[in-house]
Symmetry: C2
C-alpha cells in the first residue's frame, strides 16, 4: 500500500468548515464561509467535496442537498451508512447496521440488482429536541 496522500488546501478548508459545524451545510453555505480564504466559485467547493466524499471523509445527504463531515472517525466507505437527521436542530447521527445491510443486499441479490451506492436517511426529531418539545 501507499501513503494516504495529504489533502490539498481547498479540500482541507472545506473539510475543516464541515467539521466545525454541528449541522449539514450546503455547498454554497461552505462557499460563503470560505470567501475570506479566497474561494470564489461554487466549483471549487464541489470539487473538494467530490474528493472528500470519495474518500469517506465527508458524506452527502441526498434529501437535504447538503454535506456533513464523517462522524465515524473516517468511514472509508465501509458498506452501507444510515443517517438520522434532526429537522429541528440539524444534528446528524451516523449509523451502520449489519442486518440492515444484509437485508438490502438480500433483496438486491434475489432481484439481480447490483447496487452501486445506497442512501438511507431518516428525517425527524432527535432525542434532545423531543424532550424540549
Amino acid at each position: 500500500m501507499s501513503e494516504p496522500k495529504p489533502l490539498t488546501r481547498n479540500q482541507t478548508l472545506v473539510l475543516d468548515t464541515l467539521s466545525a459545524e454541528h449541522a449539514p451545510l450546503s455547498a454554497y453555505d461552505i462557499l460563503d464561509r470560505l470567501r475570506e480564504e479566497g474561494l470564489k466559485a461554487p466549483l471549487q467547493v464541489y470539487r473538494a467535496l467530490e474528493t472528500l466524499t470519495e474518500r469517506g471523509l465527508a458524506h452527502r445527504l441526498e434529501s437535504l442537498n447538503a454535506f456533513v463531515a464523517c462522524a465515524g472517525d473516517d468511514c472509508h466507505r465501509s458498506g452501507v451508512i444510515g443517517f438520522a437527521i434532526c429537522e429541528k436542530c440539524g444534528s446528524v447521527a451516523e449509523f451502520s447496521d449489519f442486518v440492515l445491510r444484509q437485508r438490502l443486499e438480500g433483496w438486491a441479490d434475489r432481484q439481480g440488482f447490483h447496487p452501486h451506492e445506497t442512501t438511507i436517511e431518516m428525517r425527524g426529531m432527535c432525542a434532545a429536541c423531543s424532550v424540549a418539545a
Copy 2:
C-alpha cells in the same frame, strides 16, 4: 370517513405523465410534456406533485431530484418504502420490507429519535441491464 376526493385537472395530468413513463421524471421534464396541455410554470407541476406525493400516488426520489408514479397500486404512505434505481435504463423498483423497517425503528427507539420521513434508495444496475453488460 368521506369520499376519496377526485384529483384536479393539473394533478391528473401530472400523474398520467408519470404513469406513462418508465423512468423517473424531473418536475421540468413533466412540465415540458404538458406544455401543450396549457401548463406554463414549474409551480403548477410542483403543486400537483406535492398533493400526489402526500397521497402516496407518486414518490419523490431524493437522490435524483425526480419523481415516479407509485408502482404499488397505491401505497397510501404504507410505512417505509425502498427504491432500486437503475442508473443505466432508469427503471425503478419499489419495495417494502418489514425487517428493514423494524431494524430502522429499533435503532431510532434506542436513540430516542422520532423519524418523520425515511428515504431508502439503492442506485445501481438492474437485472436486465446487468445481463446486457
